[in-house]
């Protein structure tokens, strides 16, 4: 096989040498024959004559030798290729439309595929990632230790919680993200440090040394990549921490972003010993050969034992293991699959269009095929030639599609919903090239073959009689093309409906009131260092002084809250109502608790529905008060007046400090707009007895100037005038926070919208092409109509009616298809049913209008047919 191929290739590429050798070989034979004949006594001219006769026709002999050498196949292919290129150059319009159609289909497909590939298909960037699992529920350090102690199925495990730490000693005090971990975490993920070492178990203990491992980014940004960084110490939260290791640039935690890693025991000894503080996200590595089911059985057993031993904190808690990859892609998976489906439909439409174009071309070239067939060309030769042409087109389309995909992929990444942000590795590689190449090639062969089969079938004599534009020319092709156009419209309608639903859902979502007025609000995050602010009175003094200064600025209103709506943080407490029968420990209801200072409700413009808001008068040494949300009233005071009722956190250790409800506030969306509101309790910072709430978000309302840097500089200056060691971070407008929370929905909507638009455009091109072709075929018939007195409007109606029939047939099928298919999107839609009638009606109208518009141009041309010319046309 190989020698055969090499031989053929040599014959092909070293053609001149090979031909010269053949000449020489034959000449040698001729001369030897001459010598022999002359030696036998013949005269020279007689010998020449006889030798010539014996040798026979030289050219035919050479041709037979070439055949024997097997170069024919290649030469034909080259000839086909040259011929195709020439034909394509001669009809640039056709070529451009065909190539662009495919390029768009292939490009969009490849861009989405590259995202799917990196997000859903690529393994996680840790060694042996299939063995990594996570617990769905957060857990405490104590429990992690107990699980590791008791497990028979987990080889490693560790937990992490992200906290902010103040880094002072740089040009400005800043907050950095610190991963509070146990020693097992980095070991579980299995990535070795680039420099130095990881935290060891013997330093991950109460009173252990202040050591930290830093990320590559922190090393570069804050320490300028100092090569002698090991052993260097930095001031974090007022303590000196020494760098013992640097992680490689490629390393990131599975979910969180962080700058440094410190031991939870060392950095936060107040929380570390408590079993009930379930604030660590945990990662585990299965022992080799252990299945997820075995590990789950093991961990459920451990959870059961913990529940018996510590009913008050562990009584109701479950532990569910999830493979890490599934956990990470879980949220975005349905969206990506819907997008992949959508882009697949776009590709189908593009293919249908391509096939339609080729069919029309094949029909108009039927004459040429027939003539060539009657001159002796085999059907297979004609088919191969037609396919060559479509393969050339599809490969060109693929190449341009690749460029589009490259651009599209960066567009996708720049739209990045937070979930995609994690997957930095989105890029195109060799496998993608292979993917594009194969779909291009397949498309070319398949869609070149179908029309070519139609065009080359049938009897040559019949075809010749049809004389070019006969009425029966390619009945098969006509039906095929009509089918294609109708299919395009069906698919386009499905996409349009999907996009319409998405857009409707998104507008619904955007119009959901968050419960406050987000415009003109600037927010920033402050954290009080524990060294000087470990008691409530100091914290209150700082907060009060800052707010007094800020509210003194002209046109500025400022307040503080522990956790901003849409800020991503959330704190809840077990909750009790005075006078209600006690609930067993561990079964208490939980509500979200927010501490505020200043006139929070006024600044946020959250309406107070009953009673009053919190004011500056609700301070220390005054009666304890709280404001609750509507949802809390619905849950706990369904038929009562909540005002005057007393509530508190459910405590087991201390006597209750009842707070009296003085007001009811409108519900505020805290997590995302599409979640139901939480039961929330607001209480004054000044009356809090939780000194660990040392952080706060500052909210500043200044009409029209919320984004101005002057205001930000002013606020920073006011903060640092009071204490120059306090970092100010996360400076963002409230609207920014909200738009981040909408990013994923926007991503889905923009993409589906884009694909639907593309689909509509392609379908329009498809029907335009078909109608234009039909009009040119029916010139004669139209001429008769006009000659018999038909007016322009009649002809217009005739052609438009023709097109409308096609489009409507497709649309009708599309409606049925959409109703069946859009159900898979239900989880992506907000307050819109997948069969929303308004969306269906509007998209149908839109598509029908586009179809009519696309048919209008050929119809106009039909009205201008000159009957005399048309009738002489035949």
């Amino acid at each position: 096989m190989l020698t055969d191929l090499l031989y053929r290739l040599r014959s092909l590429f070293r053609r001149e040498t090979v031909e010269a050798e053949l000449d020489e070989e034959l000449r040698f034979h001729y001369q030897r024959q001459m010598e022999k004949l002359m030696a036998s006594g013949l005269k020279r001219d007689e010998a020449t004559r006889q030798a010539r006769v014996e040798v026979g026709g030289q050219e035919q002999l050479k041709e037979e030798c070439r055949d024997a050498r097997g170069v024919q196949l290649f030469e034909n292919s080259l000839r086909d290729l040259r011929y195709s290129l020439r034909m394509l150059r001669k009809s640039p319009g056709f070529t451009v439309v065909a190539v662009l159609t495919l390029a768009l289909g292939i490009g969009a497909n490849t861009a989405i595929f590259s995202v799917i590939d990196s997000v859903l298909l690529s393994p996680l960037p840790y060694p042996d990632p299939a063995r990594l699992v996570t617990l769905r529920q957060n857990d405490s350090l104590r429990n992690i230790d107990d699980i590791l102690h008791q497990t028979k199925t987990l080889a490693h495990g560790g937990g992490v919680t992200i906290e902010r730490m103040d880094y002072t000693g740089g040009p400005e005090p800043v907050q950095i993200r610190a991963a509070y971990v146990n020693a097992g975490l980095l070991e579980t993920l299995g990535i070795a440090p680039m420099l130095g070492r990881l935290l060891s178990p013997d330093e991950d203990v109460k009173g252990g040394p202040h050591n930290m491992v830093i990320t590559h980014r922190f090393w570069q940004e804050f320490l300028s990549g100092d090569p002698n960084v090991l052993g260097r110490s930095l001031t974090l939260n007022g303590n000196r921490y020494s760098v013992i290791g640097v992680m490689p640039a490629s390393f990131a935690l599975p979910e969180d972003e962080t700058d440094i890693f410190v031991s939870l025991w060392v950095a936060y000894p107040e929380a570390a010993p408590f079993r009930g503080v379930h604030f660590m996200h945990t990662y585990w590595r299965l022992s080799p050969g252990v299945t997820l089911e075995q590990a789950q059985a093991d961990i459920s057993g451990i959870a059961g034992r913990l529940a018996q031993q510590y009913p008050d904190t562990e009584g109701k808690r479950q532990k569910t293991l999830v493979p890490l990859h599934q956990w990470l892609v879980g949220d975005i998976r349905p969206a990506l699959l819907v997008l992949f489906g959508a882009v697949g439909l776009v590709f189908l439409i593009a293919c249908a269009n391509f096939a339609g174009l080729l069919t029309a071309r094949a029909v108009s070239r039927r004459q040429e095929f027939v003539v060539r067939a009657s001159l002796g060309a085999g059907r297979s030769r004609l088919l191969v030639q037609a396919i060559t042409e479509s393969v050339v087109l599809s490969l060109l389309g693929g190449a341009i599609g690749l460029a589009l995909a490259k651009w599209g992929t960066s567009l996708l990444v720049s739209l990045k919903p937070a979930e995609l942000d994690r997957f930095r590795g989105i890029q195109m590689d060799g496998r993608l090239f292979a993917f594009i190449f194969s779909i291009s090639l397949l498309t070319g062969i398949l869609f070149g073959l179908i029309p070519a089969l139609g065009a080359t079938s049938g009897n040559a004599a019949d075809a010749l009689k049809e004389s070019g534009r006969g009425n029966t020319a390619g009945k098969f092709s006509d039906a095929f093309r009509n089918g294609l156009v109708a299919t395009e419209f069906a698919l386009a309608l499905i996409l349009l409906v999907a996009a319409g639903l998405m857009i409707k859902g998104f507008t619904r979502l955007q119009s959901v009131s968050p419960g406050f007025n987000p415009s003109d609000l600037m927010t920033m995050h402050l954290q009080l260092p524990i060294t000087r602010y470990d008691k409530i009175p100091q914290q209150t003094a700082f907060r009060r002084e800052l707010l007094t200064h800020l509210n003194g600025l002209p046109g500025v209103q400022a307040a503080m809250v522990t956790d901003l709506p849409f800020g991503g943080n959330y704190l809840d407490h077990r909750f009790a109502v005075d006078g209600r029968p006690p609930v067993p420990v561990g079964n208490e209801p939980v509500v979200q608790t927010l501490s505020v200072m200043g006139d929070y409700f006024e600044v946020m413009q959250i309406p107070i529905l009953a009673g009053r808001g919190l004011t500056e008068m609700d301070r220390e040494n005054q009666p304890l008060v709280a404001v609750v949300s509507e949802e809390l009233v619905r849950r706990f005071f369904p038929n009562e007046n909540p005002l005057g009722a007393r509530v508190d956190f459910a405590r087991t250790d201390e006597p209750h400090q009842w707070m009296t409800i003085v007001g009811v506030a409108r519900d505020v969306k805290h997590g995302t707009l599409n979640e139901p509101p939480e039961a929330t309790m607001y209480a004054p910072f000044a009356q809090s007895d939780e000194p660990w709430r040392r952080w706060m978000s500052l909210i500043v309302r200044q009409r029209g100037l919320a984004r101005s840097s002057g205001l930000i500089a002013e606020v920073k200056q006011q903060v640092w005038a009071i204490d120059n060691q306090i970092p100010v971070s996360e400076i963002r407008s409230m609207e920014d926070w909200m738009s981040v929370s909408l990013a994923r929905q926007r991503f889905n909507m923009v993409l589906l919208g884009l694909f639907a638009g593309l689909a509509m455009l392609l379908a329009a091109v498809g029907i335009y092409g078909t109608m234009a072709y039909r009009v040119s075929q029916r010139t004669n018939e139209i001429g008769i109509h006009i000659a018999l007195g038909a007016q322009g409007a009649d002809v217009l109606k005739l052609v438009l009616g023709d097109g409308a029939k096609l489009a409507l047939a497709g649309i009708a099928v599309g409606i049925v298809g959409a109703a069946a298919i859009t159900r898979v999107m239900a989880s992506l839609l907000f307050e819109v049913t997948p069969t929303d009638p308004i969306t269906f009606v509007l998209t149908t109208l839109l598509l029908a209008t586009v179809a009519l518009a696309a048919c209008y141009l050929p119809a106009r041309r039909a009205t201008r047919v000159d009957p005399m010319v048309a009738l002489r046309y035949e």
Binding site: T3, D4, Y7, R8, E21, L22, E24, E25, L26, F28, H29, Q31, R32, Q33, E35, K36, E54, V55, G56, G57, Q60, L61, E64, C65, D67, A68, R69, G70
Partner: protein
């Protein structure tokens, strides 16, 4: 002149391979040798010989090399490859089996 016989399809390949079994030869020598050994019964036309040689070369059964001829001119010599050797044996066996069987039938039927 003895009567000439048309070569059955495929036999020419077998004969060429056999001629090359002992030594490398150029095309003219092969045709001469076939003619001599068959006592002029088998005469191979140039028009069949050279395409056959090129076909056998493509299949890898014979290899070609330029060398000096008996009268010291440049000529293309063909020789049997290992693959060709095997092919020759296989074809010879098949041919002998065929002729034996045909002779058997002719004698007895």
């Amino acid at each position: 002149m003895p009567p000439r016989i048309e070569l059955p399809q495929g036999t020419l390949d077998l004969l060429i391979l056999r001629c090359l079994a002992n030594e490398a030869q150029h095309g003219w020598a092969i045709s001469e040798r076939l003619q001599q050994i068959s006592k002029d019964v088998l005469r191979v036309q140039q028009g069949s010989l050279y395409p056959a040689l090129h076909r056998l070369e493509r299949r890898g059964w014979i290899a070609a090399k330029w060398g000096a001829s008996e009268n010291n001119r440049r000529a293309k010599f063909y020789s049997l490859t290992r693959k060709g050797q095997k092919q020759l044996e296989a074809e010879r066996e098949a041919w002998e089996a065929l002729t034996t069987a045909v002779a058997q039938v002719l004698r007895t039927a």
